[in-house]
Amino acid sequence: MQVRLIKNDFKNNKLVTAAVICFMSVSAALMGLSVMLFGSLLNSIDRLMETAETPDFLQMHSGEIDISALNEFSASYPGVKKMQISTFLNLENGDLSLGEHSLADNTQDNGLCIQSSSFDYLLDLDGNRIRVSQGSVFVPICYRDEYDLKTGDPMRIGTQELTIAGFLRDSQMNSMMASSKRFLVNEQDYVRLKFLGDEEYLIEFKLQEGEDVNAFSTAYGDAGLPGNGPTITYPLIRLMNALSDGMMILVILLVSVVILVISILCIRYILLTSLEKDKREIGMMKAIGISRTDIHSLYFSKFLILSVIGALIGVLCALPVSIPMRRQMCNLYGMPENMGLIFLLSAAGILAVEGLILFSVHRTLKATDKLTAVEALYGIGRFENKKNRYLFIAVITAAVTALILIPQNIASTLASPRFVTYMGIGSSQIRIDIRQTDRIEEITGTILSDIKKDEQTNGAVLMETRSYRVMLEDGSEYSLLIENGDHSQYPVSYSEGSWPEGEDEIALSMLNASELGLGVGDYVTIRMGQNGTDKTVRCRICGIYSDITNGGKTAKARFEDDENSERPMWSVIYVTLKDPNEAASWTERYQDLVKSYDASIRVTDIANYVNAIYGQTITRIQKAAVLTMFSSALVLAVVVLLFIRLTIWQERNDCSLKKALGFISADIRISYLKRSAMYILTGMAAGVFLGLIPGQNLAGMLLGSLGASGFHFIIDPLRTFILVPLLIITVAASAAWISLKEIDRIKAYECCTGRE
């Protein structure tokens, strides 16, 4: 009988049934998709990093290297399992071409290397260590799609040519967010081509299981070992790998959580409305002695069946959507090891979603306990609060609007050139990086003076980065990379405080501040001069900024010229032009100009730089934003359709009475439209606010994982204030119009007949 009862209920309430299935399916599909993508991504990355034996600690270094000191340190530090020194031949991008494509505009540090001897292996697409024959080269997998490459295509380095024998996965530098890319060549070729670039060292350590990498990092720094370059650790590499796709998945996860909440609210509303409609029947069942458990089970089993259908549809939707997304991840990181487990986890995610919805149904059904048989029979008391009915539609509209706006705003923020200021890069148009030269100060000075004489430029500022010893107030000492210069002209975004104004101030990157346990207003003492022996300066921490460059551990200061200080490890010149539209041609001109110097110099148009680093992430987030927009619009349409239909259902008698009194359907429809529109518009305005202010904080938390703190949305006003509200209004109005057609079917005599 229960089956018949449920079957008839589905038959008689098709709209409600379809709406419940829709909510359950969308929630299940999004959660299933998020878990599946997260599982695939993390599993693929872990598998790649395990197979490749990624180092736990990596110190990049340019300049001379004391191998015996390194060996001695490695032997004496008990936590070291293996150590190796690899080389990276940094090439000039202007000299490089892949297939028919020049890499002149490429913003990565591209270079050659040979296969490592004992760990940090470069792997082919089947996960095997690559052995390269002479004359061949293996190219990073990320370039395959970017430059439409295939095996057999040529790679040219100046006048030299190699043949692309395949593509490689580099567990360290696979992500576009890693600023270097390694091309694998044969040892003989490496030696032969060495003259084409500048060699950098990768000093790599594998540590014993459970060894604290931060403690090791401190010990390495304290030992005074080569450190002319950024330091990177295993967790940071894993994070970098996970971020570009991870951000998209985080957005989908965020959306799936919000959709789940909306679904729970809507299903609760549907259930309460059904209970209200069935109140007399419930009263009758109670009166004739049917137990509370049996009444619960009548309703609960209906939702249980719907949740099974919802879960199945969710799986059927999640699977095809996940295929192209997983294909991209598999290209970059390889196939995940245990797809079965990932599907199982995804199924568990879907079950959890359905479980939560059913739990909410169970709780809502408790409302039937409170009402006595007599109250239910005679319509005393209500399951649903009539006053909150329209508030509900406002809340859902607000949630849907915010949900559409947040991913859109994240994508527009990431795409904005201003976003780099949250990443530790000054707010200029062009950036010139000068590294790996003994004459760095001389070359930098010449370039800077050329730029200042250039009529196209509007201004330029030089930043020089040196390594300093820093003493904390408790007497402990650390090494710190400090960028020295005028930080006020092209400032980065400070999450707290501001840039250093004088010699007695210093700003720290977020990572440094949290690792050293320092905040604005604290003091550190910097040792100046050669080897940090000449003088000390006590600096107040004046600001904290986020930074993802150079391993994220940097500082900014404005020290006066210090003749005795070591030469800079690298210099950066920030430039702005009088006409911003000339950035591309200016960059090109200077790229040619700096070729005459014997140094690694990179001239970058910052807009291109952003695109190169975040382009992949932005594309992914834009995809997630589109997915969100469609899911949210669908949810809004269903909610409005359902809400108005249920409201008419409950007010059917009133509508009939109005018709009996001479109102025409259009009058009644307009009164409903007016009431709904007021709440939908209010909800939409609240949604825009939520999407901008709390949404910004929420996105800030997500982007905090990228290293961007103190984050503010950089919005696209047309989209935020015109297009998205237009979409909401169109969807809501269409759904309302369809739903209000029900009024035409209400007869004027219905209110006069006792029984429906």
Partner: protein
Amino acid sequence: MKVLMKVNNLCKNNILKDVSFSVDEGEMIAIMGPSGSGKSTLLYNVSGMDQADSGEVWLGDTEIVQLSEDDKARLRLTGMGFVFQQMNMLSNLNILDNILLPSVHADKSRAFHAKQKEKALQLMEQFGIRYLADRRITEVSGGQLQRACICRSMMLSPRILFADEPTGALNQTASEEVLRAFLRINAAGTTILMVTHDSRVAAKCQRILYILDGEIRGELTLGAYSEAEITNRQQKTADWLKMMGW
């Protein structure tokens, strides 16, 4: 005759004030009184559908007021039958399934279901609605639906049947059909406690209790019903009601 139900000093929200009476086995009693006098409240409280503030209601050896909600529900399912003014039935079930509803929840075994289905069809036959078994509840008349409700109330052979204005929403013909059904089941031994406004309905009962302002103000014993005495019973009832201030 053996007492089936005994009500002692029942109070509820100032609507019922120290109400006491008893119902014998096989009796058919009408409770009458003006609107707002508390007659329906009395019915709901003695049947355990509502919770009394104080007092006792004994059904055989079971005291109902002190029972938990679940125990009350169990007792209503297995020991009581209900017929209401509004013919409450589940709209998603046909007439036969609605009649079977209490049986399904009383015992979930297949054998019991088969037996009960047989019984349901017999009862429907008895009350002249056998041919309506597969109809939806919106496809039958009020009188037919009320008779279906009586069939439902009799499915588990209750010790007492409570009826709240069972003819209140029906026309003359339908009321008479329903009343005949009540007389038939009472004749078969089922005790009936009925709230009614209709003196002609009350005149067919063995006893009438008159309630006013939550108190039982009078009682009229008419004795066993016979068709031949109907005019006399109706006159007697009317006179008594007039005396009570009706």
